[in-house]
């Protein structure tokens, strides 16, 4: 077996020596924080127009993560490119010549990228939260000390890391950046969002990885008059984890069995 620390070090060198790492992660952070701040400020100014039900279930924590819907797309790009560029550049052949043990190679790569995504995700989540609460003002805002708020903020970081991880698994299965982005971007940005708003499709859509996983970021269950989900915040994250596990197992099997 190859030395795992050596392979981790190698994957860290790979990830820090390409510019796409910086711009995707920076975009994920900036877009999420900026859009969340804008929507928090907008919410403050329009709060009085909300219905009573919406006012009653208002979730100041969740609203300060509302930019993640867009920011997660940059996380998807990060996850896809970490794996996909090995194929598009042809460097997969050099990589597998250096580390022919497929599992060691794949899971070292994914571990390094996921830790990085988690760090950026947590930074994004805390920044979004504090900026959002500041903009919501003294009447609407919450604090980390309130029940479940810390769980939701840490959950925001976990959610972003898992989105990146899921994308890595899909890109390993599809072995192409373009194909992976072509499927993941419309899925998370359009299909999942649209289906979750269609009455009949809702029941299915809430088991999608993003719909289920994002429950971890809610402090008030079924916030803002939303549909009641048959699972709690951790249950939702569990569903997302199952998706991630399936993508990773699929990716590993493809890498192990197909010709490079």
């Amino acid at each position: 077996m190859a030395s795992i620390p050596a392979v981790l070090k190698s994957e860290w060198t790979k990830i820090r020596t390409v510019s796409s790492t910086t711009w995707t992660l920076a975009t994920a952070l900036l877009v999420t924080v900026a859009l969340s701040a804008a929507l928090s400020a907008l919410m403050k100014s329009t709060f009085d127009d909300l219905s009573n039900v919406e006012k009653a279930t208002f979730d100041p924590t969740f609203i300060s993560f509302s930019g993640m819907m867009l920011g997660q797309l940059a996380m998807i790009v990060f996850g896809v490119l970490v794996v996909g560029t090995e194929y598009s550049s042809g460097s997969i052949r050099s990589s597998l010549s250096s580390v022919p043990q497929r599992g060691t190679f794949l899971f070292s790569k994914i571990a390094v990228a996921t830790v990085l995504a988690l760090v950026v995700g947590l930074a994004t989540s805390f920044l979004s939260f504090f900026l959002g609460q500041a903009l919501l003002g003294s009447e609407l805002r919450t604090t980390l000390g309130e029940d479940n708020v810390l769980r939701a903020v840490v959950g925001g970081g976990l959610y972003m890391a898992l989105i990146a991880l899921f994308s890595m698994g899909v890109a390993t299965m599809l072995r192409s950046s373009m194909l992976s982005l072509g499927i993941l971007m419309p899925f998370f940005f359009l299909i999942s969002q649209i289906l979750s708003a269609v009455p009949g499709a809702k029941k299915v859509a809430r088991y999608f990885p993003d719909q289920a996983g994002s429950k971890i970021m809610q402090v008030v269950p079924d916030a803002m008059g939303g549909e009641k989900a048959p699972y709690g915040p951790w249950g939702g994250l569990g569903i997302m984890l199952l998706w991630v596990a399936a993508a990773l197992v699929g990716g590993f099997l493809v890498l192990k069995n197909r010709d490079a």
Binding site: K14, S19, E86, R93, S95, S97, P100, D259
Partner: protein, 351 residues
């Protein structure tokens, strides 16, 4: 040592590599020769465990490639010039592979120096020419200072100086006792570098022979003699006991290049005018083409000249027996016609 045992690779109905068995020994440059599409690259990818064989196996010093803990220290391979991430510098591209195999970082600088890329070490490799990419690939192969080296078409894209350099590099590596396995679709290139030849066609083994044996068996050397006094010359030959074959155009062929001197003196003694007295050697390309004629996958057809393998290549200049033929002025494939075909472009074809 590399041992290939009954290696087979099928893609659907198509058999790319067909029950191939051979061994590559240390201390020699072993040439792996075959026309385009013969299965050379597929075989090499299976040696590195990049592709899974349909049947058979490859052993690297007795082990499967996938069982090697730090494989770059056993076997270095140049697969193609574009096996690197273009957004990363040449130095960083090599660094990440060095780290994965616990090769000290200073070795990265050393191999870049060996291949002559030190000046562009910090440049992104996507701006590299084919030749520079090829050099980076060679640096990658040398990274772990391995005992076994494998080069897939290493001269592709290199300029004459680079071709000369890679030939010497391979010979030096073999002289150090390493196993050097190099593929090419150019017989002339192999003749200059390889000590041993493995020839395949359509995935099947066609020959596994030493270069010297291949030359001895396939390159007939002879002296061509032409004279306006053909009848007299025939008598003189007959009396002197020289076996001369009469060729259609009124010239004679006498086996053995060393015969030229004696024939010239014989003619002078008998006062026979000679119009030609030239040592000749049948080209190795011709022999190679005849060997692989039945297994060439991609034929170029020529509209002007009648096709046919072995159609009169240019006679190369004089050379002692057993010596390498001239540089690739006449590339294999030329027998299909005089026009440039895809196979004749040295920089393009891949097996």
């Amino acid at each position: 040592m590399i041992e290939v045992e009954q290696l087979t690779k099928r893609y659907g109905q198509k058999t790319a590599v067909d029950n191939l068995s051979f061994q590559v020994h240390p201390g020699h440059v072993t040439g792996f020769l075959g026309p385009n599409g013969a299965g050379k690259s597929t075989t090499m990818r299976m040696m590195l465990d990049l592709d899974n064989p349909t049947a058979g196996r490859v052993r690297i010093d007795g082990q499967r490639y996938r069982e090697l803990a730090e494989p770059l220290k056993y076997m270095g391979a140049l697969l193609d010039a574009k096996a690197f991430h273009g957004g990363r510098s040449a130095y960083n591209n090599l660094l990440c592979y060095a780290q994965a195999n616990r090769i000290p970082e200073r070795r990265v600088g050393e191999v870049l120096d060996i291949v002559g890329l030190t000046a562009v070490a910090k440049k992104k490799s996507k701006g590299f020419s084919l030749g520079m990419g090829q050099r980076l690939g060679i640096a990658f192969a040398l990274l772990g200072d391995p005992r076994i080296l494998m080069f897939d078409e290493p001269v592709n894209g290199l300029d004459p100086e680079g071709i000369h350099w890679i030939r010497n590099l391979m010979k030096n590596l073999a002289a150090q006792g390493r196993t050097v396995f190099v593929s090419s679709h150019l017989m002339s290139e192999m003749a200059l570098t390889a000590d041993h030849l493995i020839v395949i066609g359509q995935g099947k083994l066609l020959a596994d022979t030493s270069m010297a044996d291949f030359i001895a068996a396939n390159s007939r050397s002879y002296v061509r003699v032409r004279s306006p006094q053909q009848e007299r010359l025939r008598d003189v030959f007959h009396r002197a006991g020289v076996t001369a074959i009469e060729v259609g155009d009124g010239s004679f062929e006498i086996d053995g290049v060393g015969a030229a001197k004696g024939i010239g003196e014989l003619a002078a003694q008998n006062q026979i005018t000679l119009h030609e007295l030239s040592p000749q050697q049948a080209s190795l390309e011709e022999a190679f083409m005849q060997m692989t004629a039945g297994s060439v996958e991609y034929h170029a057809h020529n509209l002007d000249t009648p096709s046919g393998v072995g159609g009169a290549p240019m006679p190369p200049p004089q050379m002692p027996p057993g010596a390498a033929p001239p540089p690739p002025q006449q590339q294999w494939g030329g027998g299909w016609g005089q026009g440039p075909g895809p196979d004749q472009d040295q920089g393009q074809g891949k097996g």
